[in-house]
Amino acid sequence: MNEMEIPGKLIAVEGLDGSGKSTQIHLLYQWLVGLGVKVFFSEWNSSGIVKGATRRGKKKHLLTPTTFSLIHATDFADRYERQILPMLKAGYIVLCDRYMFTSFARDGVRGCDPRWLRRMYGFAKRPDVVFYFRLPLEAALGRILDGRTQLKYFEAGMDIGLSPDIEESFTIFQGKVKEQYDTMIDEFGFHVVDATKPIPAQQEVVRTYIDDNMDLSGFRRRVVR
């Protein structure tokens, strides 16, 4: 099926942990639902069947950069082929909290070959728009390190031995992830949102962009529930 036959729209949000992207996509979802639009939400690393293996691997620290990457690709493929693509074909607006770019950034930092990663995810449709919630590293770190009680092993990049101290490892890892995201702005044409702005102001940017670029009337539900 070529692009012409996919009537739905695919919107993804990307950004560092603590960038506030999940909040923004939640608000976007609420807005679209309120407008009576057919909308579906999908989250990174959430497919039921592969979740067991992911959890086991993470708990026992069995994962290498390659298998870490592959298991997330497996999870993604499962969600993509069973939900995301059918929804798009059925004319839904699909919202993704993280997409393949998360893998490009994190797995790239872990040493996976960038071309290998891009080919692996080559089967998936590129989003119609990617909102990149960008903020200075210190701000993102502050939000995570102040708020959450415990950092997770892989989240902090402890597996690649950046530092034995988990907070320091997290800091270095996030810095490298940010570099990867920043280089992808041009490569994939990310729409950059200033994540230091107040939440409603950021949401305004997102909604305006969508209003200007998509004809939402075409996505209304035919049957009112």
Partner: protein
């Protein structure tokens, strides 16, 4: 010692120069007698003083249980299955094959990326995609493919298991509702994919329609040559 190479780029954090052992792959469809031959080779090599490690598909600690469960329900798409199998493969490559090669073992692999690739190709995967996926696999020192006629595969499978395997019959693809018919047709397509792969990756084909003893003698003769090259 001969340096090991990868099909594409090396695994992250991997130095191929440290791999001193020998990687031998026995390929072939189910019921072609692979396991029996590996069993015999393993004993023979150990008697000669070589340390042997055996690996196979779908044996990784990481995903094997989840894979088994997924196969039971047949709910995952072919693409998801491909990636799941690739995860299983790389887990074993990094956690079993590479450490064993580092320690100078002879690694006997009961199938390798070729079976995984052939299965994916039969199910419609793009060959460039599949090849890229497995591009970090180590190039084996030798690959022997046991080629048996479909008729003898059916017979052996029925004698041993009293039934045909759902996956080895390609029942998930829906070629035919008739189990026997599906097996025959699936194995035929698989064989043509193996042939394409043989052209590309150059493995040695062995006639498996011979006695266990004859095949074993054939294998040992070929392996001895490679052994001399690597452990000299």
């Amino acid at each position: 010692m001969k340096n090991k190479k990868f099909y594409g780029h090396a695994l992250p954090g991997m130095d191929p120069d440290t791999l001193s052992g020998m990687l031998v792959v026995i390929e072939g469809p189910d019921s072609s007698g692979r396991t029996t031959q590996i069993e015999l080779l393993s004993g023979w090599l150990e008697r000669m003083g070589y340390a042997v490690a055996r690996v196979g598909l779908n044996r990784s600690k990481l995903v094997a249980p989840a894979l088994a469960k997924a196969k039971e329900g047949n709910v995952l798409s072919p693409r998801t299955m491909s990636l799941f199998y690739a995860t299983d493969f790389y887990d074993q490559l990094e956690n079993t094959i590479i450490p064993a090669l580092n320690a100078g073992y002879v690694v006997l692999s009961d199938r390798y990326i070729y079976t995984l690739m052939a299965r994916d190709l039969v199910r419609g995967a793009d060959s460039a995609w599949v090849e890229s996926l497995y591009s970090m696999a180590i190039i084996p020192d030798a690959v022997y493919f046991l080629m048996a006629s479909t008729k003898s595969l059916v017979e052996r499978s029925l004698t041993v298991n009293l039934s045909l395997d759902y996956w080895e019959s390609g029942m998930d693809i829906g070629i035919s509702r008739d189990w026997y018919d599906s097996f025959v047709r699936y194995q035929r397509v698989l064989r043509s994919k193996y042939r394409d792969l043989q052209d590309k990756f150059g493995f040695e084909m062995l006639n498996a329609n011979r006695s266990v003893k004859t095949i074993q003698r054939d294998l040992r003769g070929r392996i001895e040559t490679v052994l001399r090259e690597i452990y000299r």
